[in-house]
Point group: C2
Chain length 383, copies 2
């Protein structure tokens, strides 16, 4: 499949230029057009992604556990594919290549339903990869792209409970909420990250500043960037003016609670809604809290159970934060930006689950599998 | 909670008699009234169930895996509760006690929505257990029964995605299908079992007969009993007349395919729909097949991915059957009746999942949990 993408790069770029032209006419934003655009370098990126997946261990067939019952039955729990994975996504054509590779490597059939804006690119990429896979012996039909991108095809996919084992939405909040609310097929909710950094009073303030700046500014448009900074009141008047300089230097807009405003007098006031918002941009809400309990309460109330960090030297505060925060990834003294399949060492990522059923946090190949029980007997019947 | 049930047994039996009286007036079937009825012995059964759960290992806090990244980050994957588990069920009041015990032992809050027919019994049982739990330090609200049993309360529960982490329906096919189709809360589909036994031509026919009789007759009303018998044509004329005698002796009604009818001339013909039916009674469909491939195709087409068994001495046939059957439990030379949390050695069972997401097959305590990642750093930021 990687070779075929390389050979067919010109046709893919041509198909992509049709999408780009249509997107410009439609008035897509610059950011969206940039996500959509493919060039030789981005296709090389897809190919590298495929080669990385090729190098991963095959999860299928792994014996997860085995045991023997007193009646002599031998039970093995073995890893099997989920079956058919549906992916509903938006305008990034690299998701097409990436999803096909991860689903195939984990033994699954894939049904892709991408957005209208990237449809010509997606058709060319999916056809290139499917043809290559079939010519290498993968069964016909194991890789499918729904070419009709009207709303109805997505809705039919969401009703296909008897045919699709799981549906994974990849994209913005609107898409994800529509899928998880409407789908009769089991879904995995991914991506929404209203993440927090909490600077506890014992924190090394230099480390705290580095982590806050990294978690907010290194790539503000992604789900594991922070949206709210919580600061203990004991250190607020020392820490806030310093971090303000650093953040405003990086063009971050600050919105503070009343206590924050009493220290940073001329910043904007945070509205109730700001605590719930995944800004995905250079905006940061700031709240001064009385201590670790108030920080935990705030995060568990307003967060999306994605990633949170505490910066502290106090082992008790760290332990309480780790135990009581109900999020997929809970950090002590590190940036939330590490919540990622590659950074965790999984070698791949199909998304970051914010639900608790089946998979939580970064999902790699094993999260695209199920299991079955194989039981060996010698005539046992139930008394 | 066990002690409280014992102390309060009289009040529970009284509440149950109100349900029984209402059920008789309403014209409930004898079988339903029997499921609903409680007496001292059945309450002792609940108490024994509670004591068994008490003895199980606590799954929460288990370190599932841990590793260190090249940048020094230490990552631990630890087992945590799912959070809030909703159970929607029908007329068996013992499900109330059982669900509360399993959810509490796995660290979860429970919201129970039982059926109208058992509501007085359920209120008394849940109140008894919740009061006992709260007086022992469990937080108020961790155990809740929805007392209003009109349809709307079930529908609201199915919409409470922000408050409930998983919804598990326990009951008949109608209930389960309604919940999995309507719920916006992630669900686990349980229970429906159109299970098969396949007698391969090399089988020990005495063992085959014992397994078929056990899997069909030992308790025909449960999901892991078989509904269809598949027999290789090479042995059909030897095996079918023998098994017919045994089955008809146990009052099993047989429905055969054309080839079966050519051997067992006077039994009823199986309709297409019979292959799809979970009879849950002393009815068995019989099909003669050309070999293991046809048996596998039939099972994967008509089955519910629950439990299937092959009776064979041929290792190749067994291996093919184990590899290609897409069911939660695949047996070689044993009865399907062993698909059960207790028989598997889990010490408990909340149901048998027939979906592939999150949990498959018998679900014990670990299947009522999720996990989170705890990451310890020393100031790491993402480059």
């Amino acid at each position: 499949m990687a070779e075929a993408l390389d050979k067919n790069a010109k046709a893919i770029i041509e198909a992509n230029s049709v999408d780009l032209e249509a997107g410009e006419k439609k008035g897509l934003s610059k950011a969206l057009l940039d996500r959509l655009a493919l060039d030789g370098k981005r296709i090389q990126g897809m190919i590298e992604g495929l080669n990385a997946v090729k190098g991963l261990a095959d999860p299928i067939g792994e014996i997860i556990s085995e045991w023997k019952r007193p009646n002599g039955l031998k039970i093995k729990k073995v890893r099997v594919p989920l079956g058919v994975i549906g992916i509903i996504y938006e305008a990034r054509p690299n998701v097409t290549a990436d999803s096909i590779a991860l689903c195939l490597k984990s033994g699954n059939a894939t049904i892709l339903r991408g957005g209208t804006d990237a449809i010509q690119s997606n058709i060319e990429i999916a056809k290139t990869m499917a043809d290559a896979a079939y010519s290498a012996g993968i069964p016909q039909g194991a890789i499918q792209l729904i070419e009709d991108t009207n709303r109805q095809t997505a809705e039919e996919l969401m009703k296909a409970r008897d045919y699709v084992d799981v549906l994974i939405p990849r994209g913005g909040r609107g898409l994800i909420q529509t899928v998880v609310q409407k789908s009769q097929v089991p879904t995995i909710e991914t991506g929404e990250g209203n993440c927090h950094a909490y600077v506890e009073q014992s924190a090394d303030l230099k480390m705290a500043a580095e982590i806050v700046i990294n978690a907010k500014c290194q790539r503000p448009s992604v789900c594991n960037a922070i949206e709210t900074l919580l600061v203990d009141e004991a250190i607020a008047s020392e820490f806030l003016p310093k971090i303000r300089l650093e953040l405003e230097h990086r063009k971050v807009e600050l919105r503070g609670c009343q206590k924050t405003l009493s220290i940073l007098k001329d910043i904007k006031e945070a509205a109730e809604e700001d605590w719930r918002t995944e800004f995905l941009s250079l905006t940061l809400a700031i709240k001064v809290v009385s201590g670790v309990s108030e920080a935990i309460d705030h995060i568990n109330k307003y967060g999306t159970k994605h990633s949170e960090t505490i910066i502290t030297k106090d082992k008790k505060a760290a332990a309480k934060f780790r135990a009581e925060i109900d999020s997929a990834a809970v950090y002590v003294n590190a940036s939330t930006r590490f919540t990622d399949g590659f950074e965790f060492g999984f070698g791949a990522e199909i998304g970051i689950s914010t639900q608790k059923l089946h998979a939580r946090g970064p999902m790699g190949l094993p999260e695209l599998t199920s299991y079955k029980y194989l039981i060996n007997g010698s005539g046992q019947v139930r008394p």
